[in-house]
């Protein structure tokens, strides 16, 4: 393999060395249970306090508004179950949420809760008017993601949260793809609850948090000891809590510079792919988009095969093909923005991170068109399309090295 490009940062990221370093003492000598009385535990208790303060500051919250959880999914579940079990009522969410929200909403429906799933437009955007129209007298919670994990669309959360506020409804946002990636200030956004997951921004897998505005009082999801002020039981994963805070600190400090670079690389990728591969479209909003997200649908081929070929070329990416979604259908997000099953199967998501380089972009642009051509040449669907004039034979762009 002449080159290796990890370009699936929306799936997970590598723990940053500085983060691992910050965690190591808590995986070795500082192992005292923070709830214990002896001095040895002061170190771990303080470490959690510090981490909580750091995280709070970085998103404009107060320390006691941060509840550490074991992952983004737990945060989402806690938000939804916690509010709705407390004050039974109607939930409004969208058709493009992550399964952590969507499957929770479905489970809530089975328990008898009413749920409205808002449509999105062709770019994946939720309209504040549509939200307002869906509100019922018994609406208790609105949950709309900050940024979509597949197509990278960034939602107008401030406007959406304002609608919720006007109607005095609790507003939760799944910001798992946003925290550490785009500026997040809970007060500026006006959200009441916000979910995040560490492994999306250089912290380990298995740690997340839920921001809960003071006065908003969801029931716990995990009952037990008094950890996290009684909101989330379980002996604290101190090492990962410290790691999450460190990772967020780094991510926020470098955000502007990283995003300038990511945006440039992302645009180069999008432009290059659309230029070099015919019968290909960009999914998600072109401008209201996460800096590192590229999502295209490449017709006449299937996503899993494409990923495997890319993998063989040393490129790690992902797809919304049914073969990779864990269900009979391709990505619900791609269907929600109006793609047919056929087109959705051929989707490719490339998500860049701070460690990617311009050479990586060049390399992807060098390899991808040939792989697509190869798979099309093997595809009876392409053969058909050529025969019935739906598509035209093409040469690979000479611009490709």
């Amino acid at each position: 393999m002449d080159h290796f490009v990890y370009a699936d940062h929306a799936a997970t990221t590598r723990i940053r060395p500085e983060v691992l370093e910050a965690m190591m003492p808590f995986l070795t000598e500082h192992y005292g249970n923070p709830s214990s009385m002896y001095e040895m535990s002061d170190v771990t208790e303080m470490a959690i306090l510090d981490a909580r303060r750091t995280v709070a500051e970085l998103i404009g919250a107060k320390p006691n508004e941060i509840i550490f959880t074991s992952c983004g999914s737990e945060s989402d579940n806690m938000a939804l179950w916690g509010i709705l079990r407390k004050k039974k009522g109607h939930l409004i969410t969208t058709k493009i949420e992550h399964h952590a929200v969507l499957h929770t909403a479905e489970a809530l429906e089975k328990e008898g809760y009413a749920v409205t799933y808002l449509d999105v437009d062709k770019d994946g955007l939720v309209a504040p008017e549509a939200l307002e129209a869906a509100i019922r007298p018994d609406t208790t919670l609105i949950s709309i993601m900050t940024a979509n994990n597949e197509i990278g669309t960034v939602e107008p959360i401030r406007e959406l949260a304002a609608v919720a506020k006007k109607h005095k409804i609790t507003f939760h946002t799944d910001a798992v793809q946003a925290v550490g990636h785009i500026p997040i200030d809970v007060n500026e956004l006006g959200v009441d609850m916000l979910s995040a997951s560490g492994h999306k921004f250089g912290a380990p897998k298995g740690i997340g948090f839920l921001y809960v505005r003071g006065g908003v009082l969801p029931l716990p999801l995990i009952y037990g000891g008094g950890q996290e002020r009684g909101k989330r039981a379980g002996t604290e994963n101190i090492a990962f809590i410290v790691g999450l805070a460190k990772a967020l600190e780094l991510a926020v400090a470098e955000m502007e510079e990283t995003n300038r670079k990511l945006t440039r690389m992302r645009d180069r990728l999008i432009d290059g792919i659309l230029r070099d591969i015919p019968y290909c479209r960009l999914n998600g909003s072109r401008d209201k988009r996460l800096p590192g997200n590229v999502n295209v649908s490449i017709e006449f081929i299937e996503g899993e095969a494409l990923l495997l070929k890319l993998d063989m070329a040393g490129i790690c990416a992902s797809s919304g093909s049914a073969c990779t979604t864990g269900s009979l259908d391709p990505s619900h997000v791609l269907l929600a923005i109006g793609l047919t099953h056929e087109v959705a199967h051929g989707s490719l998501r490339i998500t860049l991170g701070g460690d990617n380089t311009d050479e990586d972009v060049d390399y992807i642009l060098e390899k991808l068109p040939g792989i697509v051509k190869y798979l099309r040449d093997m595809s009876p669907v392409w053969e058909d399309a050529l025969k019935n004039g739906q598509a035209k034979e093409y040469e690979l762009c000479t611009a490709i090295k």
């Binding site: 095969a305 073969c323 864990g326 099953h341 040449d377 093997m378 595809s379």
Partner: protein
Amino acid sequence: MYSDKVKDHFEHPRNVGEIPDADGVGLVGNQKCGDIMKMYLKIENDVIVDVKFKTYGCGAAIATSSMATEMVKGKTVQEALQITNKAVMEALDGLPPVKVHCSVLAEEAIKAALEDYYKKQGKEPDFKATGCSHCCRKDEA
């Protein structure tokens, strides 16, 4: 997730292509579900002398197509009809449970091509390709 054999057949698929004057062509699967196999057979004196395929689908779909073409080549029609999805899977050293349906698709592609061959010969086939009713499924991460 895939065996080395599957990977090899995906990476170097055997018999990709078309046979313009094929004696039997089978098309199974459904693009909506994400898997289509097209198999071309050249048959002389009841023996499959050449075979080509084109597949739209996942890695397992391409590998099973490739393996299936290898398995039918040189076989008589009757022998080819005996090839089961299990045999294809075994030849590939197994498939992940969620990909078993791809091997069914391969078996069906052979059957469909032979059905077409029978029909072109004016014979009534005593078997029937059912295509594949399952879609691609990945149950477990």
